[in-house]
Amino acid sequence: MSNQEDFKNLQQLWQESTQTDYLTLQHETMIQRIKTDVTVFDKNAGLTTWLYPLMYITAAIASVFVIIKAIQKGDIFTMGMRAASIVLYGSQGLFNAWLMWKMRAMNFTNHREYLEGQIQKLTWYLNYNDRYGPPIAIVSASLFVLSFWDSLEWWAMALIMLVLLLVLGNASSSGEGFHDARNLRSRLTSALRLLKEE
Protein backbone atom coordinates (compact mmCIF):
# COMPACT_ATOMS: atom_id res chain seq x y z
CA MET A 1 0.00 0.00 0.00
CA SER A 2 1.42 3.44 -0.96
CA ASN A 3 2.06 6.20 1.54
CA GLN A 4 -0.77 8.18 -0.08
CA GLU A 5 -3.25 5.36 0.50
CA ASP A 6 -1.94 4.82 4.00
CA PHE A 7 -2.47 8.45 4.75
CA LYS A 8 -5.98 8.45 3.29
CA ASN A 9 -6.76 5.63 5.72
CA LEU A 10 -5.37 7.69 8.59
CA GLN A 11 -7.50 10.64 7.51
CA GLN A 12 -10.57 8.43 7.52
CA LEU A 13 -9.60 6.97 10.90
CA TRP A 14 -9.16 10.47 12.31
CA GLN A 15 -12.59 11.54 11.06
CA GLU A 16 -14.15 8.47 12.65
CA SER A 17 -12.20 8.73 15.88
CA THR A 18 -14.34 11.28 17.61
CA GLN A 19 -17.65 10.86 15.85
CA THR A 20 -19.12 9.58 19.09
CA ASP A 21 -16.94 11.56 21.49
CA TYR A 22 -19.32 14.46 21.74
CA LEU A 23 -22.13 12.14 22.74
CA THR A 24 -19.82 10.20 25.01
CA LEU A 25 -18.84 13.37 26.81
CA GLN A 26 -22.48 14.36 27.16
CA HIS A 27 -23.17 10.92 28.62
CA GLU A 28 -20.17 11.21 30.93
CA THR A 29 -21.37 14.58 32.24
CA MET A 30 -24.91 13.25 32.68
CA ILE A 31 -23.67 10.15 34.51
CA GLN A 32 -21.37 12.17 36.78
CA ARG A 33 -24.33 14.37 37.81
CA ILE A 34 -26.51 11.32 38.39
CA LYS A 35 -23.73 9.63 40.42
CA THR A 36 -23.61 12.67 42.70
CA ASP A 37 -27.39 12.51 43.22
CA VAL A 38 -27.25 8.75 43.81
CA THR A 39 -24.52 9.28 46.45
CA VAL A 40 -26.63 11.93 48.21
CA PHE A 41 -29.69 9.69 48.07
CA ASP A 42 -27.79 6.65 49.41
CA LYS A 43 -26.45 8.75 52.26
CA ASN A 44 -29.90 10.11 53.17
CA ALA A 45 -31.49 6.67 52.87
CA GLY A 46 -28.82 5.16 55.11
CA LEU A 47 -27.35 2.94 52.41
CA THR A 48 -23.76 4.05 52.82
CA THR A 49 -23.13 2.87 56.37
CA TRP A 50 -23.95 -0.24 58.38
CA LEU A 51 -24.99 2.07 61.22
CA TYR A 52 -28.59 2.33 59.95
CA PRO A 53 -29.36 -1.40 59.75
CA LEU A 54 -27.61 -1.87 63.11
CA MET A 55 -29.73 0.94 64.58
CA TYR A 56 -32.96 -0.70 63.41
CA ILE A 57 -31.89 -4.13 64.60
CA THR A 58 -30.86 -2.69 68.00
CA ALA A 59 -34.29 -1.01 68.26
CA ALA A 60 -35.92 -4.36 67.50
CA ILE A 61 -33.78 -6.10 70.15
CA ALA A 62 -34.61 -3.36 72.71
CA SER A 63 -38.30 -3.99 72.00
CA VAL A 64 -37.78 -7.66 72.86
CA PHE A 65 -36.75 -6.63 76.39
CA VAL A 66 -39.74 -4.29 76.69
CA ILE A 67 -42.12 -7.00 75.46
CA ILE A 68 -40.78 -9.43 78.11
CA LYS A 69 -41.60 -6.86 80.83
CA ALA A 70 -45.01 -6.22 79.25
CA ILE A 71 -45.76 -9.97 79.27
CA GLN A 72 -44.83 -10.11 82.96
CA LYS A 73 -47.15 -7.16 83.66
CA GLY A 74 -49.85 -8.48 81.37
CA ASP A 75 -49.94 -5.15 79.45
CA ILE A 76 -51.56 -6.26 76.20
CA PHE A 77 -51.45 -2.87 74.49
CA THR A 78 -47.67 -2.48 74.97
CA MET A 79 -47.17 -6.10 73.95
CA GLY A 80 -49.03 -5.47 70.67
CA MET A 81 -47.15 -2.25 69.93
CA ARG A 82 -43.75 -3.76 70.71
CA ALA A 83 -44.48 -6.90 68.71
CA ALA A 84 -45.28 -4.71 65.71
CA SER A 85 -42.12 -2.68 66.27
CA ILE A 86 -39.96 -5.85 66.44
CA VAL A 87 -41.35 -7.06 63.11
CA LEU A 88 -41.15 -3.65 61.42
CA TYR A 89 -37.79 -2.45 62.79
CA GLY A 90 -36.23 -5.87 62.32
CA SER A 91 -37.39 -6.17 58.73
CA GLN A 92 -36.32 -2.58 57.97
CA GLY A 93 -32.83 -3.26 59.39
CA LEU A 94 -32.51 -6.53 57.48
CA PHE A 95 -33.82 -4.93 54.29
CA ASN A 96 -31.28 -2.07 54.51
CA ALA A 97 -28.46 -4.54 55.18
CA TRP A 98 -29.58 -6.78 52.28
CA LEU A 99 -29.81 -3.79 49.91
CA MET A 100 -26.33 -2.58 50.89
CA TRP A 101 -24.86 -6.06 50.46
CA LYS A 102 -26.63 -6.46 47.10
CA MET A 103 -25.34 -3.12 45.80
CA ARG A 104 -21.79 -3.82 46.92
CA ALA A 105 -21.87 -7.19 45.18
CA MET A 106 -22.95 -5.59 41.89
CA ASN A 107 -20.21 -4.99 39.36
CA PHE A 108 -20.86 -2.19 36.87
CA THR A 109 -18.66 -2.35 33.79
CA ASN A 110 -20.39 0.42 31.85
CA HIS A 111 -22.89 3.25 32.20
CA ARG A 112 -25.83 1.17 31.08
CA GLU A 113 -25.24 -1.48 33.71
CA TYR A 114 -24.75 1.23 36.33
CA LEU A 115 -28.10 2.87 35.47
CA GLU A 116 -29.93 -0.45 35.32
CA GLY A 117 -28.45 -1.44 38.69
CA GLN A 118 -29.46 1.84 40.33
CA ILE A 119 -33.00 1.63 38.89
CA GLN A 120 -33.29 -1.91 40.27
CA LYS A 121 -32.07 -0.72 43.68
CA LEU A 122 -34.62 2.12 43.77
CA THR A 123 -37.39 -0.22 42.65
CA TRP A 124 -36.61 -2.57 45.54
CA TYR A 125 -36.38 0.39 47.89
CA LEU A 126 -39.71 1.87 46.78
CA ASN A 127 -41.53 -1.48 46.67
CA TYR A 128 -40.42 -2.20 50.23
CA ASN A 129 -41.14 1.25 51.59
CA ASP A 130 -44.49 1.61 49.81
CA ARG A 131 -45.58 -1.52 51.61
CA TYR A 132 -43.91 -1.14 55.01
CA GLY A 133 -43.15 2.61 55.21
CA PRO A 134 -46.60 3.72 56.48
CA PRO A 135 -46.91 1.05 59.24
CA ILE A 136 -43.33 1.76 60.39
CA ALA A 137 -44.10 5.49 60.55
CA ILE A 138 -47.35 4.88 62.46
CA VAL A 139 -45.71 2.51 64.95
CA SER A 140 -42.78 4.90 65.46
CA ALA A 141 -45.14 7.84 66.01
CA SER A 142 -47.30 5.82 68.39
CA LEU A 143 -44.28 4.69 70.42
CA PHE A 144 -43.12 8.30 70.59
CA VAL A 145 -46.51 9.46 71.87
CA LEU A 146 -46.68 6.56 74.33
CA SER A 147 -43.50 7.82 75.98
CA PHE A 148 -45.61 10.81 77.23
CA TRP A 149 -48.39 8.49 78.40
CA ASP A 150 -48.10 9.38 82.09
CA SER A 151 -47.75 13.15 81.69
CA LEU A 152 -50.63 13.75 79.26
CA GLU A 153 -54.43 13.84 79.57
CA TRP A 154 -56.23 11.23 77.43
CA TRP A 155 -57.76 13.88 75.12
CA ALA A 156 -54.30 15.46 74.50
CA MET A 157 -52.94 12.02 73.65
CA ALA A 158 -55.84 11.34 71.30
CA LEU A 159 -55.39 14.74 69.62
CA ILE A 160 -51.64 14.23 69.07
CA MET A 161 -52.26 10.74 67.70
CA LEU A 162 -54.95 12.02 65.36
CA VAL A 163 -52.74 14.81 64.01
CA LEU A 164 -49.82 12.42 63.55
CA LEU A 165 -51.99 9.89 61.73
CA LEU A 166 -53.43 12.61 59.48
CA VAL A 167 -49.97 13.94 58.60
CA LEU A 168 -48.57 10.45 58.00
CA GLY A 169 -51.63 9.34 56.05
CA ASN A 170 -51.45 12.38 53.83
CA ALA A 171 -47.70 12.01 53.24
CA SER A 172 -48.16 8.34 52.47
CA SER A 173 -51.05 8.80 50.02
CA SER A 174 -49.27 11.62 48.16
CA GLY A 175 -46.04 9.63 48.07
CA GLU A 176 -44.13 12.55 49.60
CA GLY A 177 -42.16 10.33 51.90
CA PHE A 178 -40.27 8.80 48.98
CA HIS A 179 -40.42 11.76 46.63
CA ASP A 180 -36.60 11.84 46.23
CA ALA A 181 -36.45 8.14 45.39
CA ARG A 182 -39.21 8.43 42.78
CA ASN A 183 -37.63 11.55 41.31
CA LEU A 184 -34.23 9.90 41.09
CA ARG A 185 -35.66 6.75 39.54
CA SER A 186 -37.43 8.79 36.90
CA ARG A 187 -34.17 10.62 36.09
CA LEU A 188 -32.27 7.35 35.90
CA THR A 189 -34.92 5.88 33.60
CA SER A 190 -34.74 8.91 31.28
CA ALA A 191 -30.94 8.71 31.24
CA LEU A 192 -31.07 5.01 30.40
CA ARG A 193 -33.56 5.67 27.59
CA LEU A 194 -31.25 8.39 26.21
CA LEU A 195 -28.28 6.06 26.35
CA LYS A 196 -30.19 3.32 24.51
CA GLU A 197 -31.51 5.69 21.86
CA GLU A 198 -28.11 7.13 21.01
Binding site: N3, E16, L25
Partner: protein
Protein backbone atom coordinates in the same frame (compact mmCIF):
# COMPACT_ATOMS: atom_id res chain seq x y z
CA UNK B 1 -38.25 49.54 17.17
CA UNK B 2 -34.71 49.72 18.44
CA UNK B 3 -35.58 47.09 20.99
CA UNK B 4 -37.04 44.85 18.28
CA UNK B 5 -33.91 45.26 16.15
CA UNK B 6 -31.69 44.45 19.11
CA UNK B 7 -33.77 41.42 19.94
CA UNK B 8 -33.60 40.24 16.34
CA UNK B 9 -29.82 40.71 16.22
CA UNK B 10 -29.30 38.87 19.48
CA UNK B 11 -31.57 36.02 18.39
CA UNK B 12 -29.93 35.82 15.01
CA UNK B 13 -26.44 35.77 16.59
CA UNK B 14 -27.54 33.02 18.93
CA UNK B 15 -29.01 30.96 16.09
CA UNK B 16 -25.82 31.42 14.01
CA UNK B 17 -23.73 30.38 16.99
CA UNK B 18 -25.78 27.27 17.73
CA UNK B 19 -25.63 26.28 14.04
CA UNK B 20 -21.87 26.88 13.97
CA UNK B 21 -21.34 24.72 17.05
CA UNK B 22 -23.70 22.01 15.81
CA UNK B 23 -21.96 21.83 12.43
CA UNK B 24 -18.48 21.79 13.90
CA UNK B 25 -18.77 20.08 17.27
CA UNK B 26 -17.06 16.89 16.09
CA UNK B 27 -14.16 18.87 14.59
CA UNK B 28 -13.76 20.96 17.72
CA UNK B 29 -13.93 17.84 19.88
CA UNK B 30 -11.17 16.17 17.83
CA UNK B 31 -9.07 19.29 18.24
CA UNK B 32 -9.71 19.35 21.99
CA UNK B 33 -8.74 15.71 22.24
CA UNK B 34 -5.40 16.40 20.57
CA UNK B 35 -4.51 19.19 23.02
CA UNK B 36 -5.74 17.80 26.32
CA UNK B 37 -5.07 14.78 28.44
CA UNK B 38 -8.19 14.43 30.56
CA UNK B 39 -11.94 14.66 30.28
CA UNK B 40 -12.08 17.72 32.55
CA UNK B 41 -9.51 19.57 30.44
CA UNK B 42 -11.31 18.57 27.27
CA UNK B 43 -14.60 19.95 28.57
CA UNK B 44 -12.88 23.14 29.74
CA UNK B 45 -11.18 23.62 26.40
CA UNK B 46 -14.38 22.93 24.46
CA UNK B 47 -16.17 25.49 26.59
CA UNK B 48 -13.37 28.04 26.19
CA UNK B 49 -13.42 27.61 22.40
CA UNK B 50 -17.20 28.03 22.39
CA UNK B 51 -16.90 31.22 24.47
CA UNK B 52 -14.24 32.68 22.17
CA UNK B 53 -16.28 31.79 19.08
CA UNK B 54 -19.32 33.48 20.62
CA UNK B 55 -17.30 36.61 21.39
CA UNK B 56 -15.71 36.69 17.94
CA UNK B 57 -18.91 35.97 16.00
CA UNK B 58 -20.00 39.65 15.58
CA UNK B 59 -16.61 40.53 14.07
CA UNK B 60 -16.75 37.74 11.47
CA UNK B 61 -17.14 39.46 8.12
CA UNK B 62 -16.94 36.51 5.79
CA UNK B 63 -13.49 37.44 4.45
CA UNK B 64 -12.34 33.89 5.13
CA UNK B 65 -14.51 30.78 5.08
CA UNK B 66 -16.35 29.92 8.29
CA UNK B 67 -14.21 26.83 8.84
CA UNK B 68 -10.95 28.79 8.40
CA UNK B 69 -12.16 31.44 10.84
CA UNK B 70 -13.32 28.81 13.31
CA UNK B 71 -10.09 26.78 13.14
CA UNK B 72 -8.01 29.92 13.59
CA UNK B 73 -9.82 30.74 16.82
CA UNK B 74 -10.04 27.16 18.03
CA UNK B 75 -6.33 26.51 17.41
CA UNK B 76 -5.27 29.73 19.12
CA UNK B 77 -7.39 28.90 22.16
CA UNK B 78 -6.08 25.30 22.19
CA UNK B 79 -2.43 26.40 21.98
CA UNK B 80 -2.94 28.99 24.72
CA UNK B 81 -4.76 26.41 26.83
CA UNK B 82 -1.97 23.92 26.27
CA UNK B 83 0.73 26.44 27.31
CA UNK B 84 -1.26 27.72 30.29
CA UNK B 85 -2.16 24.36 31.75
CA UNK B 86 1.23 22.81 30.92
CA UNK B 87 -0.31 19.41 31.40
CA UNK B 88 1.68 16.27 30.62
CA UNK B 89 1.17 14.91 27.14
CA UNK B 90 -1.60 12.35 26.81
CA UNK B 91 -0.50 8.92 27.84
CA UNK B 92 -2.15 5.68 26.78
CA UNK B 93 -4.00 5.41 30.09
CA UNK B 94 -5.42 8.90 29.86
CA UNK B 95 -6.43 8.74 26.23
CA UNK B 96 -8.29 5.48 26.59
CA UNK B 97 -10.31 6.37 29.65
CA UNK B 98 -13.48 6.92 27.62
CA UNK B 99 -13.17 3.57 25.93
CA UNK B 100 -12.66 1.95 29.31
CA UNK B 101 -15.87 3.28 30.74
CA UNK B 102 -18.16 3.43 27.73
CA UNK B 103 -19.01 0.95 25.01
CA UNK B 104 -17.43 2.12 21.74
CA UNK B 105 -18.95 1.51 18.32
CA UNK B 106 -15.63 0.46 16.75
CA UNK B 107 -14.17 -3.02 16.81
CA UNK B 108 -11.05 -3.73 18.87
CA UNK B 109 -8.58 -3.45 15.98
CA UNK B 110 -9.99 -0.08 14.81
CA UNK B 111 -10.07 1.21 18.37
CA UNK B 112 -6.44 0.23 18.81
CA UNK B 113 -5.47 2.04 15.60
CA UNK B 114 -7.42 5.13 16.67
CA UNK B 115 -5.57 5.14 19.98
CA UNK B 116 -2.25 4.75 18.17
CA UNK B 117 -3.09 7.64 15.88
CA UNK B 118 -4.03 9.83 18.85
CA UNK B 119 -0.82 8.92 20.63
CA UNK B 120 1.27 9.66 17.54
CA UNK B 121 -0.45 13.02 17.02
CA UNK B 122 -0.02 13.89 20.68
CA UNK B 123 3.69 13.17 20.41
CA UNK B 124 4.18 15.80 17.65
CA UNK B 125 5.49 19.28 18.55
CA UNK B 126 2.71 21.93 18.94
CA UNK B 127 3.01 23.56 15.47
CA UNK B 128 3.35 20.26 13.63
CA UNK B 129 0.38 18.93 15.59
CA UNK B 130 -1.75 21.92 14.54
CA UNK B 131 -0.80 21.52 10.88
CA UNK B 132 -1.39 17.78 10.93
CA UNK B 133 -4.79 18.14 12.61
CA UNK B 134 -5.87 20.62 9.96
CA UNK B 135 -4.58 18.32 7.23
CA UNK B 136 -6.38 15.33 8.70
CA UNK B 137 -9.51 17.50 8.80
CA UNK B 138 -9.05 17.81 5.03
CA UNK B 139 -8.24 21.51 5.01
CA UNK B 140 -6.45 22.64 1.85
CA UNK B 141 -2.85 23.99 1.91
CA UNK B 142 -4.34 27.44 1.30
CA UNK B 143 -6.67 27.14 4.30
CA UNK B 144 -3.89 25.80 6.52
CA UNK B 145 -1.71 28.68 5.39
CA UNK B 146 -4.47 31.20 6.24
CA UNK B 147 -5.06 29.63 9.65
CA UNK B 148 -1.45 29.22 10.73
CA UNK B 149 0.06 32.25 9.00
CA UNK B 150 2.69 30.10 7.22
CA UNK B 151 3.23 30.32 3.47
CA UNK B 152 1.61 27.67 1.31
CA UNK B 153 5.02 26.38 0.19
CA UNK B 154 6.13 26.09 3.80
CA UNK B 155 2.90 24.29 4.68
CA UNK B 156 3.43 21.84 1.81
CA UNK B 157 7.00 21.09 2.86
CA UNK B 158 6.04 20.67 6.52
CA UNK B 159 3.07 18.43 5.73
CA UNK B 160 5.21 16.12 3.64
CA UNK B 161 7.70 15.83 6.52
CA UNK B 162 5.04 15.37 9.22
CA UNK B 163 3.19 12.76 7.14
CA UNK B 164 6.34 10.63 7.00
CA UNK B 165 6.83 11.12 10.71
CA UNK B 166 3.24 10.14 11.49
CA UNK B 167 3.23 7.10 9.23
CA UNK B 168 6.57 6.07 10.73
CA UNK B 169 5.14 6.40 14.22
CA UNK B 170 2.08 4.37 13.27
CA UNK B 171 4.17 1.62 11.67
CA UNK B 172 6.48 1.57 14.68
CA UNK B 173 3.49 1.27 17.04
CA UNK B 174 1.92 -1.48 14.93
CA UNK B 175 5.24 -3.31 14.80
CA UNK B 176 5.49 -3.02 18.56
CA UNK B 177 2.01 -4.39 19.20
Amino acid sequence: MTNNTNTYTATSREADFVRLLEDNKARIMRLCKAYTSSREDREDLFQEIAVQLWKALPSFRGEASVSTWMYRIALNVSLRFSYETKRPKPSKERITWIEETTPHPHDDATRERIEQLQRCIASLPEVERSIMILYLEECSYKEISEITGLTETNVGAKISRIKDKLLGCMQKSEGGV
